[in-house]
Symmetry: C2
Subunit: 343 residues, 2 copies
């Protein structure tokens, strides 16, 4: 099968690519390398690389996307602006990269006659849902972030294409994903801070935000399970663990792992930033009903992440508000690759 993966050189996308290659598929990696890294893909010239067609391009470049879509049987649409926290600094970015980007993927698929799509949505689309753990059919949510709004719009478009154009979709509402190749989020931020100064840690909010996390390998297993076993027109699954932790727990894991005891300064307030949801915990009965369950606890996921960061410190050169340089250095590339084979 020929499969196109948008965001295929980034954290989660590159894991999907790796798994697809393992399964013997041909893979089109479509990535603008804004956060993706060539080092997350098999080395050029390797036998795995021979099964990859790489397009360094943006989702907003529809002609290029249509060209890349030729002969594709299935799309994993994972490319997105995922900087939830900085949404209000640049409101058009979520609209462009996530909503219009998703529309372009669907239009390119329609033009190429491809009709099957898996999509990375987010638990953020539940806003501040009162029902916790939050199931897929929770009460109609009110959006609290531009990121959530843009992913909701993406889900809506995909569902409408399923009804209107005979598409079939698998929509995954992720909690935060952790693990190898993780390049943004609180574990990343805390690790980076503590590396620069092991004696001090600045934390957004009061540290009592409760969130759930999922290890990326478990995420891959869940996606494979859902696509294999669920066959509705629109298949929607929450993906997460049956645990949640407080930010302070997470800090404890990180400090234990690094052997540091920093003085912690809390920014204060229930939320880390505008639109932050102080309690994210998804009901995952539906995906568990298909026989999947996570293999790593949140704590183990945090440790796997720290282990990756320790071995791949070049990824830390990324600034907070989205900017791994578009072309990673060859050092980053080779080190990035060292964190790969974990399936």
């Amino acid at each position: 099968m020929k499969v196109l993966v948008t965001g295929g050189a980034a954290f989660i996308g590159s894991q999907v690519v790796e798994r697809l290659l393992m399964r013997g598929h041909k893979v089109v990696v479509y990535d603008n390398l804004s956060t993706g890294q060539m080092g997350f893909l098999p080395p050029a010239g390797s036998s795995a690389w021979a099964s990859i067609q790489f397009a360094q391009a943006d989702l907003l470049d529809l002609p290029r996307l249509k060209e890349a879509m030729q002969g594709v049987d299935f799309v994993y649409h994972l490319a997105a602006n995922a900087d939830v926290r900085f949404g209000t600094n640049h409101p058009s970015r979520d609209l462009e990269q996530n909503t219009i980007g998703t529309f372009n993927v669907l239009e390119a698929m329609r033009s190429a006659g491809c009709r099957k799509i898996a999509f990375s949505s987010t638990g953020s689309i539940y806003g501040e849902c009162k029902v916790i753990p939050t199931p897929e059919d929770s009460p109609f949510p009110v959006q609290t972030s531009l990121y959530g709004a843009s992913k909701l719009a993406g889900e809506g478009l995909i569902s409408a294409y399923c009804e209107g154009f005979g598409f079939q979709s698998w929509i995954f509402r992720f909690v935060s994903i952790l693990g190898e190749r993780y390049t943004h989020g609180h574990v990343f931020d805390f690790y980076k801070q503590l590396l620069a100064n092991p004696n001090e840690l600045k934390v957004l909010g009061d540290g009592r935000q409760k969130k759930s996390y999922l290890y990326v390998g478990d995420c891959m297993n869940a996606i494979e399970t859902a696509i294999e076993k669920a066959d509705d027109k629109v298949n929607i699954f929450n993906l997460g663990t049956e645990e949640f932790i407080q930010v302070t727990d997470s800090i404890g894991f990180i400090c234990d792992c690094l052997g540091v005891k920093p003085k912690i300064q809390y920014g204060g307030g229930e939320r880390g930033w505008i639109g932050d949801n102080p309690f994210i915990f998804l009901d995952t009965k539906k995906i568990r009903g298909l026989g999947w369950k996570p293999e790593l606890t949140i704590k183990e996921g945090v440790f796997a992440t720290l282990n990756f960061l320790r071995k791949n410190q070049a990824v830390l050169s990324r600034t907070e508000d989205r900017a791994i340089p578009a072309q990673p250095s060859s050092k980053a590339a080779s080190e990035g690759a060292s964190g790969s084979a974990f399936f």
Copy 2:
């Protein structure tokens, strides 16, 4: 107060404009005249016209929108592509006119320091909800039309701006609205067909689709009530009657009113078109809880609509797939105006 109304020269928007003028406000009418008509506004040179600032422009023209937004205190964002049925013929139209259009309205407001917005959403965003009558907090819906998806995206953006930028919003999920200045929908289509040939009527689907309708004057009362009495950050209201009718009932009303007995040809199938919802009936307890109730029954609303169409046959020159000419003829304009004063 200075109020901007997008789509202010069209069916519902022009009714809002009329009411705002009655209340003594200054009104900026922003309309691209794709379905709007100058004849739906007070005549140029009249005293009412002196309170209007008219901008013939599209929502996609952000600089123009920002310019029109200067000094505005409140926005009624009613402009939209409302051709639910023909969405799949031109998938980008809903995205552009409804989703990106709404984003532009919000950005123009932000740049002008205006933070209050009323928005016309739709019962279509509930998809094929199993809970009927459908309340505002029904289970998380799956979209079935590009129109519904685009309005859901608009709601999401508005809610995110409320959280992120301190906006306040009133979001109205309409059933189909009927009444004076109605220029599209099934009553329009049936009337037009029967005028051309009173002996035959072609009906999409099996005629058993069950839908709810609301008279536009009642819709205006509901909007005024909600904005006056509801003061949350995001205020969401279903607007509809406590009745629904079958398409066949509606045909009966129309035939009675016109005194015709056509042979009816049904297209067949549960749905009139792809993405059509065979049963739309909204729970309106929330808006009723504020003291509002509709004054006209659905049947009376259909009669008011037919009465308007009879007196304003120029509006029938519109083709089905959206196209009142961008510049209505002066005949259409003057006749359109005759259907106005009904408040």
